[in-house]
Each structure stands twice: as C-alpha cells, then as structure tokens.
Amino acid sequence: MLESAFKLSPTTDSQKALISRLEQEAGTSINLCYQCGKCTAGCPAAFAMDYPPRQVIRLLQLGFTEEALNAKSIWICASCETCSARCPRGVDIASLMDTMRRAALKRGKTDKKVAAFNKAFLSNVKNFGRTYEAGLLLQYNLTTGQLFKDMGLGLPMMQRGKVGVFPERIKARDEMKKIFERAAKFGGEQ
C-alpha cells in the first residue's frame, strides 16, 4: 500500500497540536485505536481509497498529519458511519473523517469534484434557504467542466414533474445569509 518509505521522527509540537484539535472537534481519541481493521473491513468505499480508514488513523497516531490530510480517502468516505458503529474501541472514525475534510478544506486541500458539489449545494442554501436540485446539478457541472454529465436524465426528470422550474425560496433569505456569515465568524474550533 505504501508507495514511498516513511521517515519516522518525533512528532513536532505543531503536529501534536493539530492532532489534538482534530480529536477535540471530532469528539474522539485516536489513541484508543488498536489497529484491528474492523473499520476497513466494513467500509463500503475502502476499495477506492489510498489509505483505508485503519491506515488513516495509523498515520495520525504516528504524527503524519500532512499525509493524513492529503489522503484521497477522506474525500472518498461517504459518511455512512459503518466504521463508527462497529469500532470495538469506540473510536468515532466517521466524525474524525468529517473533521479531517474540514481541516483539509481550510488548508485548500480537497477533492475538486466533491468540494465543487458541496459549494454549489451550500450556495443554494445561502441564497434561497433551500436546495434547488436542478440548479445545483447545473452549477456543479459548469464548475467541474462536465457539461454533459447526467444530461440524459434532465428531460425524464422534467417529464416526471421532478424538477421545479424556479427555485423554492424561503422568506427569511436575509436571515440565512446572516447565519452563514455568523457561522464563519464564530465557527472554527481553532
């Protein structure tokens, strides 16, 4: 699995601080993990990961924070929570993955497609208060340069009355924008 050798060296203070911030936000402790691999065995997306869940935890245990936050795995995780439900040591792996995605995002490290989808989704919520599915898909396709992705599904969706012509808007749209602004201001455990 490991393509390059890892240089083991004492964990630096900044790495230690980052790990404890991740643990705090995720509400879990990586030191509980004894590397049994039950999380990886049950992970439905492990087949596509560079570091399966157990190895992501191992990277953190060894202080390899950069490698962990660069792992493609954290963006392949579908948040299905199977790992957390099954961990015999009670490590909340799914929450840790979630926390790592957010930490990676803040550092500008991300899976472009997943991040584009999330951005399109949240800009819908910020502007309209609700998600407008058709607009979301169009925006996602435009920003990722996949113009014709799922094109064949657009017309059948409309024929079935499953696409609104206009986005649904709530009355409290100004309130929504403020919620986003204040969350950005007060948020961040760092």
């Binding site: 439905p44 199977t82 979630d98 609700r130 996602y140 079935r160």
Partner: protein, 422 residues
C-alpha cells in the same frame, strides 16, 4: 395526533412521490402534519463536510421554529434531514457550549425540547403495525420486498436509536403488516453511495451496484426505502448501473409510504408510481394477480378441509382399506402423496399393529413421529381414523415418510388454528 412536518427540499423535486405518499399515509392512519413555517434546508452532507457549526445551526433553525410554534415532535421523512436534525438535537441537549454558539449564530433561543422522528419510528412505535394492518384493503401478499434502510436512519445509533444498526426490523415489520414477504438480505444497511454517486461516480456506482446485486441474489423482486436519496440512486441510476456492470436487475423501488397507501386502497397514480424511472406499476399488478390466486388456493384448501371433516365419520370404517393414501385433499398432505405410490404394498399385519398402537397410545406414538413435544401434542390431538390409517400405512412401509406426513398434518393444523385466530 399532530406532528410538525419537515418535508425537506426533495419533497417538491426528485422525491415528489415521497411527499405525496407521506401526506396520504398521514390521512389514512389519522395523524396530522403541520408543515414548519418558512423552514430551511438542513445542509445535508455538504454542510457537515464544510463547517461543523454551520452544519448544526442550519437544522437548529428549524428546531427553534418548531419550539416557537409549540411542537415537540417533528416528522422528517427524508433520512438525511432526519439525521441532521437528530445530530443538532443531540448537540443542543448534551453540549451546552455548542448550544450557546448555535444560538449566537441563529440569533434565536433553543429549549432543546424537540424530538425528530423518522417515519419508520412513527409507523411502528407510535402507531403500531396492528393499526396499519387494520387499514389494509388489498394486502401485498406474495410481494417479495427487500427493506432497505441505508445509513442515516440507523446510524449513528446514539442519535437515531429507534432500531438496530446492523439488522433493523421496523421497515420489515411494516411490510409484513401490509401482507408482503420481507426478504432476508445482507445489505439492508449498506451505503448506496449517497452523494458520491453524483460527485464521484467512479466510487458511488460500485456501491450502488453491490446493494442492487445483493437484493436480487437474495430473491427480492423489489426494494423498499424511506430515503429520497436512496430512491434517487436506486431508481434513477439503476439503468446506468445495469449498463456499466453488464447485469440486468429490473428491480422496482418503492417508498414504504407509497406501498402503505396502495395496500390501503389508493390507486398507484395517487402516490405517483408512474413517476418512477424503473417501471413500478407492472409489478404491483403482478402482485395483485398472485395475491388473488393465493387467496383462491387458500379458500379451496379451506373448503376441502371442511369436506374432509364431514367425510370423517363415513371414512371411519374404511380406514383400514385406505391404509395406502390416494388423492388426499390437503395441500401439505399432497406433498407426501407421490412417494406413497412408489413403495410396495405394506404388510397388513404391521399396518394393523400400528393402527392399534396409534389408537391406544396416541401421545406416545405421536412423540415417535414428531420430535418437538408441543407439535407431538398437536398431532396426538388431531389423530382421527383417517389420519391413523394413513400414518399406519406409511409407518409399516417407511418411517421417514410417516414422519414427513405427520409433520404435514401438524403444519396443516397449526395453519388452520392461525387462520381461525385471524
């Protein structure tokens, strides 16, 4: 009962049938849904992937609205909305620091008094399967349904908690209450790929394929869901999965609420069955025909059993001659009948001895034929001349055959008792 209702963004779009059938379900079962005023999107996965505080504040605004309008219980049919609401409730109730932050972001106060419910929780634990069965007009007899729970209805268990995270049963119970067969399968809580099917189809499509494949291989003829994203993936993208993996599934997908409404007498169009991508109307017709056939078969069997009981007295004297069974009426007895023709004529003395033994010591002999003591008791209680004659004939020839026939008699009787109770 009146609940606050949070339809979620998909109820007017991709999950329009869920919204339609949810409202029908409430009407049929007699509970009221009051839509939350000016509700907003829960943020779903994109929210918690991006910012923790925002991901809690978005659903919490809806909780605050519910509290303000005097509701404690909120129904959120969408599994993702339900899960985000539960997560926010958990934070508000158990994390005072986080609660304060959320209140700051919202500029609203939170009591932490709400409880968000999934539709499965409401159906099984608030209304109860007996009340559902009472509304059924055309039962889904012979429907082979795989109940698909997916992730967010049952995990994480600290937030959801109304069912088992590995082998949940609530949806299976509802399906049985509607008359369907609940197929046992291993992928009922495996992830369908969720948003990954759209964002990263290279990963998501395989996850989707595995769920469909396991359902098919387990003998399911359709899948039932309580999540609009699972529906979107399983239904709308099934054709693409079939193409990519070179395998045909033809599995119609239903919302549990659609089937509840249809079994309670609604026309399929009322809940939007024609809006599905995988043709879903024909299978409902097939089930209807098979259910009618099963009903006729059951009625016939009951008539024949009644005729048999009448003939019992007349047959008493002829019992000895009828030692070798021919053309029995009961369905179960029929299964054992063909092998009876295959053997040679049994020794008449042996047959007589068994007849005597069965007549004098029914309990002891029944225990020899049926291992389970309770079932042996049942057998002993229903032994009449005709059954004794038949069993004696078989015992003289082949003990295994006699045991099979005895088991069939017990099953027939247990079924009859079950029907009487119904």
């Amino acid at each position: 009962m009146k609940y606050a209702y949070y339809p979620g963004c998909s109820a007017d779009g991709s999950g329009i049938e869920y919204g339609m059938s949810m409202e029908r379900t409430a009407k049929i079962l007699g509970f009221q849904l009051q839509e939350l005023e000016d509700w907003n999107c829960c943020g779903a996965t994109s929210g918690h992937n991006t910012d923790k505080l925002l991901s809690l504040a978005l659903p919490a605004r809806n909780l605050a609205i519910a509290e303000k309008t005097g509701f404690n219980m909120i129904i959120a049919p969408c599994a993702a909305c339900y899960n985000r609401f539960r997560t926010a409730e958990h934070a508000v109730q158990h994390d005072p620091e986080m609660k304060k932050k959320i209140e700051q972001v919202l500029d609203m106060e939170l009591q932490g008094s709400t409880e968000t419910l999934s539709i499965l929780d409401v159906l099984v634990n608030k209304i109860g399967t007996e009340a559902i069965t009472a509304k059924v007009k055309s039962p889904l007899t012979t429907m082979k349904a795989a109940s698909y729970y997916g992730c967010l209805l049952v995990r994480p268990v600290e937030h959801t908690g109304f069912d088992d995270p590995e082998d949940p049963q609530t949806m299976d119970k509802v399906m049985k209450a509607l008359g369907a067969d609940a197929v046992e399968w291993s992928h009922k809580t495996e992830c369908c790929g969720a948003a990954m099917v759209t964002a990263r189809p290279d990963v998501g499509m395989r996850m989707l394929y595995r769920v469909l494949k396991d359902a098919k291989e387990s003998g399911a003829e359709c899948l039932v869901t309580a999540c609009p994203l699972c529906m979107l993936n399983l239904d709308m993208r099934q054709a693409a999965v079939e193409k990519q993996f070179g395998e045909k599934f033809n599995l119609p997908i239903y919302y549990v609420t659609e089937l509840l409404a249809i079994a309670s007498g609604d026309a399929p169009q009322t809940v939007g069955i024609e809006k599905h991508f995988v043709e879903a109307g024909k299978y409902l017709d097939t089930v209807k025909i098979r259910a009618a056939e099963a009903k006729i078969t059951a009625e016939k069997a009951a008539e024949e059993a009644a005729a048999k009981a009448q003939a019992k007295a007349a047959a008493a004297k002829a019992a000895k001659e009828k030692a070798a069974p021919t053309g029995e009426a009961g369905v179960k007895a029929k299964a054992a009948a063909p092998s009876a023709d295959a053997g040679a004529q049994p020794d008449q003395k042996k047959v007589d001895a068994f007849v005597t033994a069965l007549t004098k010591n029914p309990d002891k002999m029944a225990a020899k034929l049926v291992a389970d003591p309770a079932q042996a008791g049942v057998l002993a209680s229903i032994l009449d001349e005709k059954k004794i004659g038949k069993l004696a004939g078989l015992m003289a020839r082949d003990m295994e055959l006699a045991k099979k026939a005895a088991a069939a008699f017990v099953q027939q009787e247990l079924k009859r008792q079950g029907e009487c109770q119904d």
